[in-house]
């Protein structure tokens, strides 16, 4: 079953406007390529065209709705520079939005598409927005592989990350979705503590660099005394900082006392 087939033709017609135009202009060539009777393909290219247009528009709408729900600012950045047909044809027709890996892949591809058309000035912001919006999916995918045994020291829960962006990306996302300019927020290094709840809901806390450094070392391999030594921070301040994070409802696993 490797030769071109009618279902492959239909899939192309629903995701690529060029295929639809080709069907209209040269139905016989389409019929030959996809192994269909020429007379029936001619009928598809005339009487069947309204149904094809409706089906293509439903397919486009469903794909864009799925992205709107999971990668809204990434999609908005893309839609600012390319049309919806291009987004569907070049990206969404090649990723499965129903898996965390598929959403991450869609984000990366949309980011590449937007960057190609947006120019250098926006490239780093686009990359940050993509990374921010795909983060919960990456975390969920990683967490699904299981949580490692707790080590000797504190470690972040499986659904927790301390991350750094080149801009205050949470605010950038809000402004993009509100249709407001965000250029003034570029090139401001910003740190966040991100935790993902069941169902993918993300909680985000902006954190100072010192806490980012501490949490970045919390991989379970270092007892509090080692963290204290590495950061030049008293042990009780390390404990207090971790307690404050826990008080936010963020999971920090505790290793045995050093």
């Amino acid at each position: 079953m490797s030769e071109a087939t009618p279902q492959e033709l239909l899939a192309k017609l629903l995701t690529d406007p060029r295929a639809l135009a080709e069907l209209r202009q040269n139905p016989d060539a389409c019929a030959a390529r996809y192994g269909l009777p020429a007379q029936e393909v001619r009928r598809l290219s005339t009487a069947g065209m309204p149904g094809l247009r409706v089906a293509a528009s439903v397919t486009r709408w469903k794909n864009l709705s799925a992205v709107m729900g999971s990668l809204p600012a990434t999609l908005a950045l893309c839609q600012a520079v390319v049309d919806d047909d291009t987004i569907v044809g070049e990206v969404l027709a090649h990723v499965r939005m129903t898996t965390p890996r598929g959403v991450v892949s869609a984000g990366e591809r949309l980011g590449e598409l937007a960057s190609r058309h947006a120019g250098d000035a926006r490239r780093s912001v686009i990359q940050d927005v993509v990374r921010y919006e795909t983060l919960s999916y990456e975390i969920r995918e990683h967490a699904a592989q299981g949580q490692p045994d707790p080590g000797r020291g504190p470690s972040l829960g499986a659904c927790v990350r301390a991350v750094t962006f080149g801009c205050p990306v949470a605010e950038v996302q809000r402004r993009i979705l509100a249709g407001r300019p965000f250029e003034d927020l570029r090139e401001r290094t910003t740190h966040y503590l991100v935790s993902v709840r069941p169902g993918g809901r993300m909680r985000v806390h902006r954190i100072p660099e010192a806490l980012r450094d501490l949490l970045g070392l919390c991989d379970g391999s270092r007892p509090v005394t080692v963290l204290s030594h590495r950061l030049g921070m008293p042990t009780d301040r390390v404990e207090q900082a971790l307690a404050k994070v826990r008080a936010l409802g963020v999971e920090i696993r505790t290793g045995p006392a050093a």
Binding site: L10, L14, E40
Partner: protein, 280 residues
């Protein structure tokens, strides 16, 4: 477990959607069972706490979107195993998805798309559905979809469904709104369509309605966004005169009513028809 075992009679239920959550719990005595969208729970066992809460009150049936049994690609066994895990978690009596394709030869459609209707393809689909049922370890039902474009093929839709069923022992989930929409859009009689199906294989029914303004290029739109229409209720009565089914489900996907009473009206109307036709 024998997938072909006699299925329990679930009664009249409702499609679980988050906007309906509070109304469902408040009126749980009027809802016999719930159908959940499998894909919402596949990759995040953290969400199963919700399912377990629902399962304490209702039988749950997982209804999937992405099995794509109609595509020419091999069955996605990882996907089927993930569906089976959800089904096991809720002790589902059966599992369903659609007789369609959502991807083919590397093209992802993200939409339920009509298959090429040939006898050879029907046998291919039947083999995939049978394999899915075997992996799931429980009865697997295939739902008829609404479609706006018809690929040139050698079988009618009813013949295609019949041919698939002839070559596997899965069941049918008959969406009567999809039947009504397809009949209007493609010019056939929905009652004759029902009569030409292997009705003894119909285990479950979907009931839904479409807002009257949902028309595009002359096509009635399947949106599942309104009260169940009289036409669909008549199709239900017609079906139940001929075949008892194990589950009747009211499905609403959009434009959720502010007043949950609208959902209850649909449930009560369906229940009245089942009572009149002598089934539970």
């Amino acid at each position: 477990m024998n997938p072909g075992r006699v299925l329990p009679n679930l009664g009249v239920g409702l499609g679980y959607r988050a906007p309906l959550h509070d109304g469902i719990l408040e009126h749980h005595r009027e809802i016999d069972w719930l159908e959940i969208i499998t894909d919402d729970y596949l990759h995040d066992p953290g969400t199963w706490d919700l399912l377990r809460t629902l399962r304490d009150r209702f039988p749950l049936v997982p209804h999937g979107l992405e099995m794509s049994v109609g595509s020419r690609d091999p069955l996605d066994e990882d996907y089927v195993r993930a569906v089976a895990a959800v089904a096991d978690a809720v002790d589902a009596p059966w599992v369903s998805d659609h007789l369609c394709f959502t991807r083919d030869q590397g093209i992802e459609l993200g939409n339920l798309t009509p298959v090429h209707r040939t006898a050879a393809h029907a046998r291919y689909i039947a083999a995939k559905a049978q394999k899915a049922q075997d992996l799931l370890g429980r009865r697997f039902l295939l739902e008829n979809i609404a479609y706006y474009v018809d690929l040139p093929g050698e079988l009618s839709e009813a013949e295609m469904i019949s041919e698939v069923m002839r070559h596997c022992d899965c069941g049918i989930l008959l969406d009567l709104n999809n039947v009504a929409v397809n009949a209007a859009n493609h010019g056939f009689d929905p009652f004759r369509f029902l009569d030409s199906l292997p009705l003894e294989r119909v285990e479950q029914v979907h009931l839904a309605g479409n807002a009257p303004d949902q028309v595009q290029e002359g096509f009635r739109f399947d949106a599942h966004d309104d009260e169940v229409s009289d036409e669909v209720m008549e199709l239900l009565a017609h079906l139940l005169e001929r075949q008892e089914v194990k589950g009747i489900l009211v499905e609403r996907d959009e434009r959720f009513p502010e007043d949950f009473g609208e959902m209850l009206t649909d449930l009560r109307r369906a229940r009245a028809i089942t009572a009149r036709e002598g089934v539970r």
